[in-house]
């Protein structure tokens, strides 16, 4: 078993060594369009080598990789400093899981294009008045012959600026209870009536977009599953296809914690910064072990999301404090300047992570109700 895994690791390492372009970072530095084009090329390159879509079943052109193999791949990509595939993340995880689980034969023809980086996907779920209460969404889809006519507004769509397609939730029955009247669509973002506006966030960059939909026509063939079945479909893909979703983030946090610990270890014993960072480091190591267990058990991931974002905020906040005035010298603008790597920017980023994908407060509700069995708050 372990021999097979070692062999798998060796093969992937060898492939990466001969395929990761030397000096690729210089090519894409400061040029978003070049970075997107390069990302698409890299996805095709991976697919040619048989290394795309690790989590997808083999019959859909994926690798059918085990969790252990996926972890190995991530580790090797870090070691090799391989290009990121995060731009294609929604396609590979959510779109992939949705199409494989619920898509028609015709809809599944997207799968090879997702694998090869020919399609970038984004998610059109949240709305200005439907955040934590996602089921309250009000974007309306009205049947008109072989089309639905869709009008409404979506927000917090990561990478939408570069996306070709969008996973869209819209209300098809306004009279049904709120979770029963939602349908799931595949939206071609080049359709007339679609307008994207980048949304600048507190870190200065514009990773998110607002999506405005004005009488956008979506063919009935692009509805996933039955009409009004969209909520259930969105929930299954949100919860079952997490896989090693947090792994890169948690590994990155562990590296940062080790750097922080090294930075304060020369301070005298009992020093407030040494104490604070040591406590953060300890809990981040615990988080690493906790995550390994949660992955192995396929258990409720709320605790990981909650704990990870808390610790990210705490560590970066403590390092901002320890850095004093020096750490305040810097700028989030212009957004395309070299980013990451400063504690202050990472600290700002942490606020978004504690909100997106279910706020910390929502995670605590989930733990209270689903894990501890506490009663729901009456509506």
């Amino acid at each position: 078993m372990d021999d097979a895994l070692d062999d798998f690791r060796a093969r992937y390492r060898q492939w990466l060594a001969s395929h990761v372009p030397v000096g690729w970072r210089d090519r894409v530095e400061g040029d978003r369009r070049a970075a997107v084009a390069f990302g698409r090329w890299w996805m095709a390159e991976r697919d040619d080598g048989g290394w795309s879509a690790p989590a997808w079943p083999v019959e859909h052109g994926g690798m059918g990789a085990t969790l252990a193999e996926q972890l190995v791949m991530y580790e090797e990509e870090t070691v090799a400093d391989a290009p990121s595939t995060s731009l294609f993340g929604i396609g590979l995880s959510h779109a992939g899981a949705t199409l494989i689980g619920h898509g028609s034969e015709e809809q599944r023809t997207h799968l090879p294009r997702i694998r090869r980086g020919e399609e970038i996907w984004c998610q059109g779920f949240s709305e200005p008045d439907a955040g934590s209460d996602l089921a309250a969404l009000s974007t309306r889809a009205m049947r008109d012959g072989d089309d639905y006519v869709v009008t409404g507004q979506k927000v917090w769509s990561s990478f939408a600026e570069h996306a070709d397609w969008c996973l869209l939730l819209a209300r098809t029955d306004p009279d049904a209870p709120k979770r029963k009247g939602i349908s799931y669509f595949l939206l071609d973002l080049t359709t007339p009536g679609v307008e994207l506006r980048p949304l600048r966030q507190i870190t200065g960059s514009a990773e998110f977009c607002e999506i405005f939909l004005d009488e956008v026509r979506i063919p009935v063939a692009n509805r996933v599953g039955a009409e009004n079945d969209g909520w259930a479909i969105s929930q299954t893909t949100l919860t079952t296809e997490r896989g090693p979703f947090f792994l890169p983030a948690i590994q990155a946090l562990r590296r940062r914690a080790a750097e922080a610990l090294a930075a304060v270890s020369s301070l005298p014993e009992g020093h407030v910064h040494r104490q604070a960072i040591a406590a953060d480091y300890a809990e981040i190591e615990i988080l690493g072990e906790l995550y390994a267990q949660v992955l192995a058990k396929q258990a409720e991931a709320s605790i990981v999301k909650l704990y990870y974002t808390q610790l990210l905020s705490r560590l970066t906040g403590h390092m901002v404090e320890a850095g004093g005035l020096d750490e305040q010298i810097g700028s989030a603008l212009p957004p395309d300047a070299e980013r990451g790597g400063t504690w202050m920017l990472e600290h700002l980023q942490a606020f978004g992570l504690a909100i997106g994908g279910g706020t910390s407060e929502i995670q605590r509700n989930l733990i209270g109700e689903r894990v501890l069995g506490l009663p729901r708050e009456p509506a």
Partner: protein, 302 residues
Amino acid sequence: MNELAEELRGVVREVVAERSGDELWKTAAELGWLGLEIPEAHGGSGMGFDLLAPVLDELGRGLASIPFVSSVVLGAAALRFSPFGDEWLPAIASGEKRVAVALDPYVLDAVDADAVLVVADDRMHLATVTVTAVPTYDVTRRLAEVRVDELGEGFGDAALIAWLRERAAVALALDSHGGARRAMEITVEYAKQRMQFGRPIGSFQAVKHHCANMFVAVETTKVAADTAVREIAGEPGHPTRWSSIAKAHAADAYVDVASLGIAVHGGIGFTWEHDMHRFLERARLDQALFGTSAWHRDRIAS
């Protein structure tokens, strides 16, 4: 091995629920818990720390008052590296003799101990001592001042002492986990039963979120303690950061959980009759014994 540990855990939980004090100590000896790690040649069963772990966890859960940490986790372990093993180890395994180990200025379980091991000049000593009990807020355990009258022959080295400190730290991390989990369970149960404003208080987010935070503290404490148990399994000379990670996190988490437990219980949690304050007092002592959380955090960063 895991199955054996879980089986043992079940037995300990039942026994601790029914017995306490000297009666519990006698049963612990009869059931072989005191000799778990003592070599078979000395009347034990020659198992490892991984089997002490469920016992420590359950004793913490039950707020038990027996000198298991002192005599078994520390005393017997130290004496295995001494010339006194033949004399003392069988007596510890049978529960006939109890040993305390002076790693702190106030010594856990020195009252009623048949021998106190003290540290001097990087060696352990089976010393002649005068023991004076001191009062503690945690009524489930006893501390004492120990005056050394005569050091006696030394044994072991700095590595042995460091190893004992790590074992003590992990033992208390397990104690903290056991107590914290029980305190959480009692609190969650209460939050489901207690009605105010016409509904269970656990339906209110303010209370529910306290409970969720307790859950995170307890689960992460378990992960930390389990990892530390694996890392500490060997002999002296292999120090690990995990003993400190587990001790500092577990004791701090225990204090947080017990504090939230009192808050969620409201007035009833402030009464002497209710157990919740005993968890808090035990947590505070866990936090202070065998290296404070601050001491362990300094060790993590060194």
